[in-house]
Structure formats: C-alpha cells, structure tokens
C-alpha cells in the first residue's frame, strides 16, 4: 500500500484539494479530520452507513428473546403466584424491551466497529498525529508514477506538508 499524504491547516483548501483529486482520478481518497465536518461528506459523496440494519435486526431478535425467557421460565415450573395466570405476557413486555435495547445497542456498536475496521492493531501508513488535533489530512492511494501529480496538486492547494508513504 502506497500513496501520498497531505496535511492541511485550513478546511477550505483541503476541500478544494479533494475536489481536484477526484477530478484527476488519482486513486482512492481518505480524509482525516479532527472532527466530523459535513463539507467532506458532500465532496466524498459516500453512501450512508449500513449500521442501522444491524440495529434493526438485532433489536427484533432481542425483543423476541426477551419475551421467550420469562415465558419459558414460567412454563418450566408452573407455580401459581397471586392467583395470576402462569405466563403473563403484559409484564413480560418490560423484559422484552430491556433485552431488545441491550442486544440492539451492543450489536450497533459492534457493527460500527466492523464497518470502520476497528479495533486495528497498528497505525497503518498514511496517518499523522496532527490529524487528531488541528490538521486535516488527505491520503491518496496511488501508484508511484502518479505520485508526483498528486503532490503537485496538493501543494497547489496549500498543503502545509506533503509526503510519500509506502
């Protein structure tokens, strides 16, 4: 994996650099930003995250399981308490709901981990500590022969620093 990494101090210059990079079709672009900014979403035009599907499916699974536990428990040993029916579904809604939230919530998080490839064990190439603090980073994954063009382009837009990485 190799490419060019450019660090920008200003937001607009980073945006314009990305726009031109896309036009130039120099390769896949990854943007590093200290905080999520909609400007990037606009230029990158990514499809919305699929996390929500997991949330929905696992949530439904959770509520089913959450109902099943108490019903099975009650029927396994049918003890009469307070003259109530053995399996009373109304109060079991509470357990159903809680288990739904538990499983749904956790699976959302794990889906998020999966989609964004974390936890990752090593910082791969193309990352700079500045990106967590104040700078915007643009990483173009490109072949060496096209690297110069990319560097050129990034510099033109006023990248503070540009470097090849491999």
């Amino acid at each position: 994996m190799q490419g060019v990494l450019g660090a920008f101090h200003e937001l607009d210059s980073a945006i314009h650099a990305i726009e031109d990079l896309k036009k130039a079709k120099l390769g896949d672009i990854t943007v590093f930003t200290p905080t999520p900014r909609h400007e990037f979403d606009h230029v990158l035009e990514h499809a919305p995250s699929k996390v929500r599907i997991y949330t929905l499916v696992m949530g439904l699974a959770g509520v089913t399981f959450g109902y099943w536990i108490p019903v099975w428990i009650s029927d396994y040993w049918p003890l009469v308490v307070g003259g109530k029916a053995i399996a009373t579904w109304v109060p079991f809604t509470i357990l159903g709901f809680e288990v739904m939230v538990l499983i749904g919530g956790l699976s959302t998080v794990f889906a998020m981990f999966g989609f964004s490839h974390i936890p990752r064990l090593t910082m791969t190439v193309g990352y700079d500590p500045r990106f967590s603090s104040g700078h915007f980073g643009v990483w173009v994954e490109t072949a060496p022969e096209q690297a110069d063009a990319a560097i050129e382009l990034l510099k033109k837009h006023g990248a503070e620093e540009v470097r090849r990485e491999r």
């Binding site: 040993w77 003890l79 009469v80 308490v81 307070g82 003259g83 109530k84 029916a85």
Partner: protein, 1022 residues
C-alpha cells in the same frame, strides 16, 4: 462467681441410644404386663402401643400440669425420649384438650437454662456444687440436728398425695407440718366458699347462668381454674342471642373485664357496698355515693339481676374487705338461685383444698424472726419475692441456722438458703392430683431427668435422708391410689382414674384476725394484681411468657403503671413517662401506660416482674456467663421491671389473704422516658372492619347484615365459601353469586376441577365471639413452630446498640406468627365513665387465594401450594422483604438476627432449651422471612398417616397447634373442600366475614363476628 460455674460433667446430656431403648422397653413391658406384674410400668405411652413407637414419631404420655393451682390433665408429646410439647388431655374434665399459655410454657421450666444442674451447698458465702448423695447426707445431718426445735416447711401448694407424704415424713423426723403456700390463691374467695358452700372451690357453670356479675373476679386471668372456666365461659357466650350478659364491677378492667358487656367502674374497695346494695342489705344511693357509680346504673343492674335468674356472681376482691365482699356476693348468689345451678358445691374443685393463708405464712416468718426455728425448708414457693418487702422475710429467714431449698430455680429465697437439693420437674417425676373430687389424675414422668446429676425428686431425697428406707416414693404412691395395681395400670394410659384420695390435713384453722392496712395518704389508690401470664412471678423465667404480650396492655418484658388517660392528661403524663409510685412503705419506678380501663382515681401495677439477685449481677452476657448460676430467678427474669409488692404494707384481710389494693399512693414524674416494649400499633380500628361485632338483637335479621363498605373499594359483600386463586377468579369472573356461573365453580379447589390441581383447601374459622384474648394460641404456636423469642436484653446487635430488655419488641421485631390484636371500640376521647368495648382478633397468615405476597417475590420463595397453602421456602428466600411490604395483614416476620445459631449472642434456644425444639420444623436462619404455615408439618403427618393406612383423611382428624390449645375453642381448622370437616359449616355461618375483603385477597381465614349484649337495645356496631 467462679465457684458457681458447673463442672463440665454436669452439662445435660442428650438421650443416649441405650436409655432411649430402655424407655421404649419398659413402655412395652408396661402394656404387655399391665395386668399383673409387680414391676408394672414406669412409663406408659398414651394410646400408642410400643411396636408403633419408632424414632421420629411422637410418643404421648398423660400427666399433670403443675404450673398453677388447677392441676389440669395434660399430654406430654415426647420425641426420642424428650418432651417437646404439652397439650391438654381431651378426656380430662378440667382441660378438655385445651391448655393455657402458662401450661404451654411448662417445658421451658423443664429445659430452663438456669435450672440447677446439681445440688449445691453454701459454705462461707461461696456456693459449691455437690453430688446428690452428698446433699442428701447433709440434709439428714441437718434434720437430725434440728430435732426438737421448731421448724418451718413452706411448700408450693399442690393437689395430690405428696403433701400427706411430706407431713408424715416431717412428723417422723419430729418436725412441724408444712404450710401449703400459693400466693395466687384468692384466700378470701376460698374462705367465703367454705363458709357459704362448705367447699373450698365449687365448680362454676357459666353455661347455665342468665347473667354473670363479676366483682373483680378475673376468672379468665388465672383466678380459679383458668382453663375449665374459659372453656365454660366461651360455651356460654356461644349461645349467641340467649347467651348470658356479663357485667364486670371493679376499679380496673382486667382481661376478664374486657370480655364483659358492661364495665361498672367503681372506686377501689367500694365493691362491698355495691354487693350489699344489690343484695338489698343497704340502699343503692349509699352504694352509688361510696362507689362513684351513677345510682341509675346500679338500679338497672339490680333490676336485671331480679329479672335474670339464675345469676352467677363472683368476687375476686383483694382489698381489706375481701372476705366480707365475697360473703355478700355468696349471699347474692344464694338469693338468686345460683347455688346448685351455676355454682355447684356438689362438684368441688379439690385442688383448692388445703391452701395455707398468707397470714399463716407471716406467722411462720415472725416465728423465724424469733430465732427459735432450727431448720427451714422451701420448695417451689418463693416467699422472699411473694411477700411484701415490708415483711422483711430475708432478715427473719437469716435467723434460721439451716435453710434448705428444694427449688429448681435460683430464685430470691433459694439464694438465701444454705443447702439446695433441686427437685425434679413435674414432667420428670411421679405424682398424683385430684383436681376435681372423684377424678384422680396421675402424674407420670414423661422423660428421664434432663440433668442426670439430679438423682431424684424431693420425695426421693426425703426418703433417702430418712435412714429407714420405705422403698421408693412411687411404691408409696401406688399404695395410696384406690383400686391397686391393675386399676393403676389401666388408668395410666389415660392419665386418670376414678376415686378419691384420703382428705389431706388442712392447716390448723385458727381464726385469723384481719390485719388492716395502715392508713396512708396520697391522691391515688393503688391496685396490684397477679400478672395474667407471669402469675405471682413464677412465670418470669420463661422467655415464652416474657415475650407474650400481656393480653390487656400488650406490653412484654417490662412492668408498667396503668393510669387513666384523663388523669394522665391532667398531670401531663405521656405513654412511657417513668412514674415514681410512693407509699409509706416503699416506692417503685415504672413507665406509665394510659389505659381507659382503670378508675380515674387509681393506678394499677401488675405483679410478677422485678426479680432481683441479692448478690450484684449485671445483665446476662451469653458469651461470658453461660454455665454460671443466674441468681435473681434466672437470666430472663432478673432486673426486669419492678415488684409492686415493694409498695405494700403487711396487711391481710379477714381470710388471711394478702391485701393487694386499696392503699393510697402518690405518683410523681421522674422525667425519664422509656418506650414501652409493646406490640400495639394503634389500639383503634379506624373503621376498617378488622374486628367486627353484631348486636345480639340484630343476629336474626340477616337482611340487616351490615358491612364496612369502603368507598372506592371492590365488592365487600361476603361471598360464601372460599374461592380459588386463578386469574379468572381474581377478575371476579368465578365464584361470585353474581358471576356467570352463579358461583358454582370453585376454581381449582373444586375436587372435580379439570385442572385437578388440588383436592383440598385448607382453611380456618375464628369465632371472635368465643375468643377471650387469653393468648394461649400464641404460646402454642411458639412451642409448635420453634419460634424464637427476641426480647431479651442481649438479643440486639453488638456495636453501639442498646442492650435493653424488650428492645426488639419496641422495634416491632417480635416473631409471633399468630398475634392477638386488641382493638377498643367506642369512647373515642377516652372519657372516664363512658363505657367502651374491646374486640380481640387472632391474626395470622390468611393464606390468601390471591396472595399479594406471592407475585412480588423475585425468587419464588413464596408461592401457592395446590392445597391452598401459601407456602414459604426458607432455603430459597434471599430476604428482600418485599412480601412483607405487600402483605395487607402484616403477618410475615423476618429473621433480623441469627436467632437460631448457637454461637450468636442472639441465640434464642440456649442449651438445654433447644431440647424442646420440634424436630418436624426447621429452625430458621438469619435473613429469611417466615410466617404461619397452618402447621403444615401436622397436615403432612396426617396425610402420610392416612396414606399408610390406605384411607382418606377423616373430617376433623387433626388440627393446628393454635386451634388445639385454644381454651375457648374459638379456632377451627379444616379442609373447606371436604364437607366432612366442621369448618365447612362454620364458613357458611351468618356471622362470617373476611378481613379486608375489598382487597380481593380471597383469604382462607374466615372470622365470625363477635356478638354484643349491650344493656337495652343499643345500635349495632361494626
């Protein structure tokens, strides 16, 4: 106290296997050889042939209860050779299968941890344990030394042959005959009976009376033959609309008074003029002025007496004029056709024969003070405590060189003695009694002595001390009994035989001069009375009786001063303010208990508490003091409350009885305050219809059946029968007459129910009209279910915790699975002179069909058993206590401490009290909830027995401990799904109702309304 610590060898030992087999062996021998053999049985089981006797199954022995004068026939239930419970003997004319709280508590005397475990001798002020033989030799030498000198023998009064044996022994030793002492006996009444009817105590028949008038005669608090009287009284009240009305005349309204339909609150001591007036000997106006009772009221009473013959009038006055009053009342009886009908001299209660008067005892004390007495004996009785302090018994007693005690407990008198040869408990020795003329009751030992070091009873000791052996006491006794060996052998299983004992030597009936109480001044009149449970104090060392709240005040583990609320308000006295009561002769300090049932010019203090040791001893410490002699009548009695006798002058009435009330006292606030250890929350029902009553007049108008319908509450209409806990029913779709099925479905309790969950519905009815509030059921429950007592001073936490007797009671932590609620009705502002009504409600787990406690338990520790029981699973309980929060009846009790764990200071069954524990019932551990189980162990036992015999349960085959003990037969237990049980009829009674029916709990306990007989047609109350 190091000398007092016992050698380990003296520790009580469990029944060893061989001994146990021995017991069974002789049992067998007894029955098989019943006809002839010389060795006719030592122990003969009750109606159980030995081959059926297997470990784990109870064996029953018929014997005699010696806890009070009456000497009821009882049955001792023994398990593996140990007595675990006393029950009334159903065939005995006195107890008829019932037993009072004091009788129930007898095993706690037998197993009392403070019982002497060896004979002891006092040498140079230090006590030393000695062997029984050594003690007997010392006794012999002492007796020999005292020959010729005057002697005194104070013996606990008892019916039977022993007194005769004792006197013959004394005379053979050249000693004076004994005095048969009982501080509880109403000597005035006895003397009056002798003079008017020729017997010490005629049997009374409340059933046959049209009107009952009691002049301070507390026949439900221990006056006379307690059990038989309350049985008969309850039967009388059970006649509902034609039951006799009951009028109580006295300065203090005792438990008996609370059971009366009307209380005439007269000035203390004015009973005589009322009695005379009613008998027409003096004018009613005079009586009215003497007694402070409106003349109209007396007028009405006089008219009523005239109109309702036969009358039953009783006098239990203990003032100076006691004898005169008793005689006047006897005259009243004679004038109103009582004799032979309601008072039966033909059937005398012989246990009251031969009681020495207090005057005689006081003479003996003076004789000792004279210094001439060479030797003095005490057995069972405790004069150092039961005589007023002003009699200076101790000082007089000290003048006697040799003082021998045969008492089992380290009481005040025994502490003053030089030689102690502890008697065996009545459950460990042979004896006999003749409670009723013609009925000899046999006392056979139900077990081997708890403490092997005690080789024999007093009688055995006396025989051994007399160098010329006359064989064993048992042989002597058998010779006394009519009919010879075969008759005895036949009688022992039943514990009774017909025939009479030779008349006992009555004490020299020298005419006694009344010793009137000296004039004293003060604004109030003192009334003292024997405690309904502790009696003259002999009950104070039994934790069950200390824990059991007094039926009237509901105070436990303490003394109290009753004072009328009006007076209290006037003097700015609050409940619990410590008052100092002063007379010329002494003063005591006790917390105030404002009580409507006391005359506004009187204060009342119960006797029975305030035991003290001569040698200074602190509060008992289970860690350090175990095994040491607990002077002051044992760890449970010492330094608890006050002894009201400290106030009294030495005064006796014309019958020689001690004057207990009438002297003037002054009261003063000390400024201290002490929360009364009381189980009473609110004494009023606040119109919640827990204890309901109905006027006799209303009874026959069922359509007038009134109910406490609380606004916004569910149907409070009584739905007959008991219904099932099924969801549909909870919605009221089944069972109600209005329901679609017309109430035909009985849910899962219908034997034909397809769900087939249960054949039975265990249920209970409680007849509030029979219940007298005596609380015997509570003690029975403690005995049956191993309920710990929690009130002792050391049963609290360790660090920064109050070590105060009754602390746990103050905090409401008592464990009484069944409790007696005492609710007052009427007279809302507690005005003196305005009458009020009392209703007693035994309240235990209602075993609800729809139990609120069940669904909230997170671990199914409580759930509904198919046979209708609300069961509690101790092993599963984690102690969230939610069930108790959700119980409307508040009948669940929590183990706040490890009451059942030996190594804890809170341990409720210190060795050997734990011998009494019922092996069929778990001793609950720390941190679990417990409650009434409807004696499930008895249910299962009966079911198993039936199964083994390949039969179904018979109706009324068995019952719960409370129902069995109840001396007024108020409680009925049974299977509501099986018509052969009598409970099924009672459930349909016109007086039946459920408590808090509007909560739809569908309880299994049905209460029957109390029936009131108010003077004239009063409005019905509920």
């Amino acid at each position: 106290m190091s000398q007092d610590t016992l050698k380990t060898g003296d520790k009580p030992t469990g029944v060893k296997r061989r001994e146990f087999l021995k017991v069974l062996g002789v049992t067998g021998a007894a029955v098989s050889a019943a006809a002839c053999s010389e060795d006719t049985g030592k122990l003969i089981p009750y109606l159980v042939s030995p081959d059926e006797t297997v470990p784990g199954v109870s064996t029953y022995y018929a014997t005699v209860c010696r806890e009070c004068i009456s000497a009821c026939g009882v049955i001792a239930e023994t398990r593996d050779g140990r007595v675990i419970k006393l029950e009334g003997n159903p065939d005995h004319p006195m107890s008829k299968g019932a037993l009072c709280a004091r009788g129930q508590a007898a095993p706690q005397g037998l197993y009392n941890p403070d019982r002497f475990r060896t004979p002891m001798v006092n040498e140079g002020g230090a006590w030393k344990a000695i062997t029984w033989d050594d003690a007997v030799t010392r006794l012999a030498t002492a007796v020999a030394g005292a020959k010729g000198k005057p002697s005194v023998f104070l013996n606990q009064h008892e019916s039977g042959s022993f007194p005769r044996f004792l006197d013959s022994w004394l005379s053979s030793m050249g000693l004076a005959p004994h005095l048969s002492v009982d501080a509880e006996a109403d000597q005035a009444a006895i003397e009056a009976n002798r003079r008017s009817y020729g017997v010490a105590w005629p049997s009374l028949s409340f059933k046959d009376a049209k009107l009952i008038v009691s002049f301070g005669a507390d026949f439900l608090d221990g006056w006379g033959a307690g059990v038989s009287q309350s049985l008969d009284f309850a039967d009388a009240r059970a006649k509902l609309d034609n039951a006799p009305r009951f009028v109580y005349i006295g300065a203090r309204r005792s438990l008996t008074g609370l059971n009366a339909d009307e209380w005439i609150a007269c000035k203390p001591g004015s009973e005589l003029s009322i009695a005379n007036a009613l008998a027409g000997k003096s004018s009613l106006e005079q009586a009215a002025t003497d007694s402070g009772v409106p003349a109209a009221q007396l007028q009405r009473l006089a008219a009523e007496i005239g109109a309702n013959k036969p009358l039953l009038a009783l006098s239990g006055v203990t003032g100076d004029a006691a004898l005169e009053t008793a005689l006047a009342v006897a005259a009243l009886n004679q004038a109103n056709g009582a004799v032979g009908v309601t008072i039966k001299p033909a059937q005398p209660v012989t246990s009251f024969e031969g009681i020495a008067s207090t005057a005689q005892v006081l003479n003996a004390v003076e004789q000792m003070r004279g210094g001439s007495v060479g030797i003095a004996f005490v057995r069972g009785t405790n004069p150092a405590y039961t005589l007023p302090k002003s009699a200076n018994f101790a000082e007089a007693f000290a003048k006697v060189p040799v003082r021998v005690s045969f008492s089992s407990f380290p009481d005040e008198t025994t502490e003053l003695c030089t030689l102690i040869i502890p008697d065996l408990h009545s459950l460990e020795q042979w004896g006999d009694a003749e409670p009723l003329r013609g009925t000899i009751t046999l006392q056979q030992p139900a077990m081997d002595p708890v403490f092997p070091a005690l080789k024999g009873s007093t009688a055995d000791a006396l025989i051994a001390a007399a160098k010329n052996p006359v064989g064993t006491y048992r042989e002597w006794l058998m010779a006394q009994l009519p009919g010879g060996k075969p008759a005895i052998a036949a009688a022992l299983p039943k514990g009774m035989m017909a025939g009479t004992l030779p008349a006992r030597p009555t004490a020299p009936a020298a005419p006694i001069a009344a010793r009137p109480s000296p004039a004293s001044q003060g604004d109030f009149t003192l009334v003292t009375y024997p405690h309904a449970l502790l009696g003259d104090g002999r009950g104070a060392n039994k934790p069950w009786l200390q824990e059991l709240p007094d039926p009237v005040s509901k105070v436990a583990w303490s003394s109290w001063v009753e004072i009328h609320p009006e007076t209290a308000q006037r003097l700015g006295i609050d409940r619990g303010d410590v008052l100092e009561i002063k007379t010329a002769t002494g003063s005591v300090k006790a917390p105030a208990f404002p009580y409507m049932g006391i005359h506004k010019d009187a204060v009342a203090i119960p006797l029975g508490q305030g035991h003290h040791a001569t040698t200074a001893m602190g509060v008992f410490n289970p860690k350090k003091d175990a095994g040491t002699v607990q002077w002051g009548y044992g760890r449970y009695a010492r330094d608890l409350g006050v002894n009201a006798l400290d106030l009294l002058p030495v005064a006796s009435n014309a019958a020689g009885g001690l004057v207990l009330d009438g002297m003037k006292v002054s009261i003063a606030k000390t400024g201290e305050h002490r929360t009364l250890p009381s189980t009473e929350g609110s004494a009023r029902q606040h119109g919640r219809g827990i204890a309901r009553a109905i006027e006799a007049a209303e009874l026959n108008r069922p359509e007038q059946e009134e109910h406490e319908v609380l606004p916004g509450a569910a149907s409070a209409e009584f739905l007959p029968g008991l219904r099932s806990p099924v969801a549909a029913d909870a919605q009221g779709e089944l069972g109600a007459p209005t329901a679609a099925d017309q109430g035909k479905l009985k849910g899962m309790y219908d034997p034909n129910d397809v769900r087939g969950m249960a054949k039975r519905r265990w249920a209970m009815t409680i007849d509030l009209n029979r219940c007298t509030g005596c609380s015997a059921c509570v003690t029975a429950c403690y005995a049956e279910n191993n309920i710990p007592t929690v009130g002792a001073a050391w049963q609290n936490a360790t660090i920064w915790a109050d070590a105060r007797a009754g602390f746990n009671i103050e905090r409401g932590r008592e464990m009484n699975w069944i409790r007696l609620e005492r609710y007052f009705e009427g007279n809302p502002d507690a005005k003196f002179g305005e009458d009020f009504e009392t209703r007693f409600v035994p309240m235990m787990c209602q075993h609800c069909g729809n139990a609120p406690c069940e669904p909230v338990c997170p671990v199914y520790a409580t759930y509904h058993a198919p046979d209708g029981l609300n069961v509690q699973v101790y092993n599963r309980c984690v102690g969230t206590r939610y069930c108790s929060n959700n119980c409307p009846y508040k009948v669940r009790y929590f183990n706040w401490f490890g009451y059942g764990e030996e190594d804890r200071k809170q341990y409720a069954f210190p060795e050997p009290l734990n011998w009494q524990l019922n092996p069929d019932v778990t001793v609950r551990g720390k941190g679990v909830m417990e409650k009434c189980s409807f004696c499930v162990q008895r249910i299962r036992e009966a079911e198993n027995r039936a199964a083994v015999e390949h039969r179904d349960l018979h109706g009324d085959e068995f019952t719960t401990a409370c129902a069995q003990a109840c001396p007024s037969r108020a409680i009925t237990f049974g299977d509501a799904a099986d018509p052969s049980w009598s409970v099924t009829q009672l459930i349909e009674d016109r007086r039946a109702y459920h408590v808090f029916e509007e909560l739809n709990t569908f309880t299994a306990v049905v209460y029957l309304k109390k029936v009131n007989h108010s003077a004239g047609a009063a409005a019905p109350q509920a």
